[in-house]
Each structure stands twice: as structure tokens, then as C-alpha cells.
């Protein structure tokens, strides 16, 4: 693991750091909106991985000249990962919008977006159900 190895893979190091930061936020934060933000960071890290993958040394933007006279010596950057990530970005937007919409609805129903408070409310609901239905089953449930 020498210096050139480290620098040469800088995009992967950054990808790993960004990805794990995102995943950590999703797991560690109790606020539902912050979880969505973490999820976004997590996805963005993957976008960066793909895009850095498409880079070709000395490559230019992959647009052909309008007269279609292509110089065979020209090196183009690989556009395919960009296209894939365009799709993934749209998916990410849809996920974020849906997630936030769910958070809005949760806020309306529970009055909070803190995970521990929601869990408490749900535990109360569950133990109430267990009390009612457990008794009805003769305490066997």
C-alpha cells in the first residue's frame, strides 16, 4: 500500500467514506427526515463511483461534431455510466419524494417524526392489542 496506490484510487476512498457516512446516518439518526438525507448521501456515493468509472484518461465529452467527421485519434469519455446514473438519479429522486411524503403522513398520524417516540406509540398499541386479544384467547396468546 504505497503512496501512488493510495492517490491512484482516491475516487474509491472518497466513495467508501461518503457511502459509509450515508449508511451511518441512516442507522444512527432517529429523525426520519435525517434518515432520508443519509439515504441520499448513500445513493450519491454510488453515483460518484459510477461516474468516476466512466472517465477515460484524456477523454473529451462524448459528443460527435455535427458534420459527423470524427477524428479517429480523439478519445471520448465513456458515456454509458453517465446514462446509467441518470436513471439511478431519477430513481433516487422518486425514492426521496416518496420517503418524504411518507414522513409527512407519519407526522400527521403520530404527531412526531422521532423514531423513538414513534416506537413508543407503536409499542403501546401492540401491548394494548395483546392485552385485549390475549385475554380473549384465554391467555394463551
Amino acid at each position: 500500500m504505497d503512496w501512488s496506490f493510495f492517490v491512484g484510487h482516491v475516487n474509491y476512498w472518497l466513495f467508501v467514506v461518503l457511502m459509509m457516512t450515508g449508511l451511518y446516518v441512516v442507522v444512527a439518526k432517529g429523525n426520519l427526515v435525517k434518515k432520508i438525507v443519509g439515504l441520499n448521501m448513500f445513493q450519491t456515493a454510488v453515483f460518484m463511483l459510477y461516474i468516476s468509472m466512466g472517465k477515460v484518461h484524456g477523454g473529451t465529452a462524448p459528443i460527435f461534431p455535427t458534420d459527423m467527421k470524427i477524428d479517429p485519434a480523439t478519445v471520448y469519455t465513456n458515456p454509458l455510466p453517465h446514462v446509467l446514473i441518470l436513471t439511478a438519479i431519477v430513481v433516487g429522486i422518486a425514492t426521496t419524494a416518496l420517503g418524504l411524503a411518507l414522513v409527512v403522513r407519519i407526522r400527521e398520524e403520530y404527531g412526531t417524526i422521532e423514531e423513538d417516540e414513534i416506537l413508543e406509540i407503536e409499542q403501546d398499541m401492540a401491548s394494548e392489542e395483546n392485552r385485549i386479544h390475549g385475554q380473549a384467547m384465554g391467555g394463551r396468546a
Binding site: T66, L86, A97, L100, A101, V104, E108
Partner: protein, 146 residues
């Protein structure tokens, strides 16, 4: 923002230009950077800016939420419909060669134009639907709004 007269005047002027620019990006998309995605977002921005500076009701007079919903679905139908038409000509799904059998590269232009139009319409509809859904959120939505 009732008292921000400068903002209101500028927004009124800009909205038309934004829509025009959206059409430019839309129909130039197959020749230059641009296309349905970008055009759809730009188009939606015109309405969103209007709604932010004036108010939601006025924006919804121009573009009711119901219409935005239908637009979102309509665009997908345009996109898929293009593919179905190419199938009716005996080509594979979304083979644009079908649109001008003698000259496939012209067919490509027609096909991409149609597909990008579908994308643009859907993106406009979806962006507006998302914006409306979050801004018009009141404890319960009346049936008419859907």
C-alpha cells in the same frame, strides 16, 4: 409576498421566457444537449416560481393538480405509444426505423422527438405533482383536489 412588487413583476415577465426556453430545450434535445428531462423540469419551474411568488391557488388556476396528474400519465402513454406504433409497423418495440422505413436515420429523429415529448410531459407532470403534494398539504384533502 404581496408587497414584493419587484419580485412579482419580474416573475411575471420571466415565466413566459422560462416556458419558451423549456420548449427550446425540448425540441432541440435531439441535436444538442437537452431533451425531455431538462425541458420538463424547466417547464415545471415556471409554474413553481409562479406559485412561490404569488400563491398556490393562482398557480393551480393555470395548472390544476388534476391536470398535472393526467399529464404525468399521458407522457408515459406517449412514450409507450411510440413503441406500440413501431410494433404495429412490424418492427421491434421502440425501433424508430419504423417511422420512415426508406430512411431509418430520419425515422430515428421522429422517434426520438416523440419519445422525448413523452418524457418532457411526464417530468412536468411529476414535478408539479410533487410540488403540489407537499405545498398544499392540509390535514385532509378534499375530494375535488384529486
Amino acid at each position: 409576498m404581496q408587497h414584493h412588487i419587484v419580485l412579482r413583476v419580474v416573475t411575471k415577465l420571466l415565466c413566459g421566457l422560462i416556458v419558451l426556453f423549456a420548449f427550446y430545450v425540448q425540441f432541440h434535445g435531439d441535436y444538442s444537449p437537452g431533451g425531455g428531462f431538462q425541458a420538463g423540469v424547466i417547464m415545471a419551474v415556471a409554474f413553481i416560481a409562479y406559485a412561490v411568488v404569488f400563491n398556490l391557488e393562482m398557480a393551480q388556476k393555470v395548472m390544476p393538480a388534476r391536470v398535472a396528474h393526467k399529464l404525468a400519465a399521458l407522457g408515459v402513454l406517449i412514450y409507450g405509444g411510440t413503441g406500440v406504433v413501431s410494433m404495429l409497423f412490424g418492427y421491434t418495440f421502440l425501433d424508430y426505423g419504423a417511422f420512415q422505413p426508406g430512411h431509418p436515420s430520419h425515422g430515428q429523429h421522429w422517434g426520438i422527438l416523440a419519445v422525448e415529448l413523452g418524457v418532457g410531459v411526464t417530468v412536468t407532470g411529476v414535478m408539479l405533482t410533487i410540488f403540489y403534494a407537499f405545498t398544499s398539504r392540509v390535514p385532509s384533502i378534499s375530494d375535488e383536489e384529486w
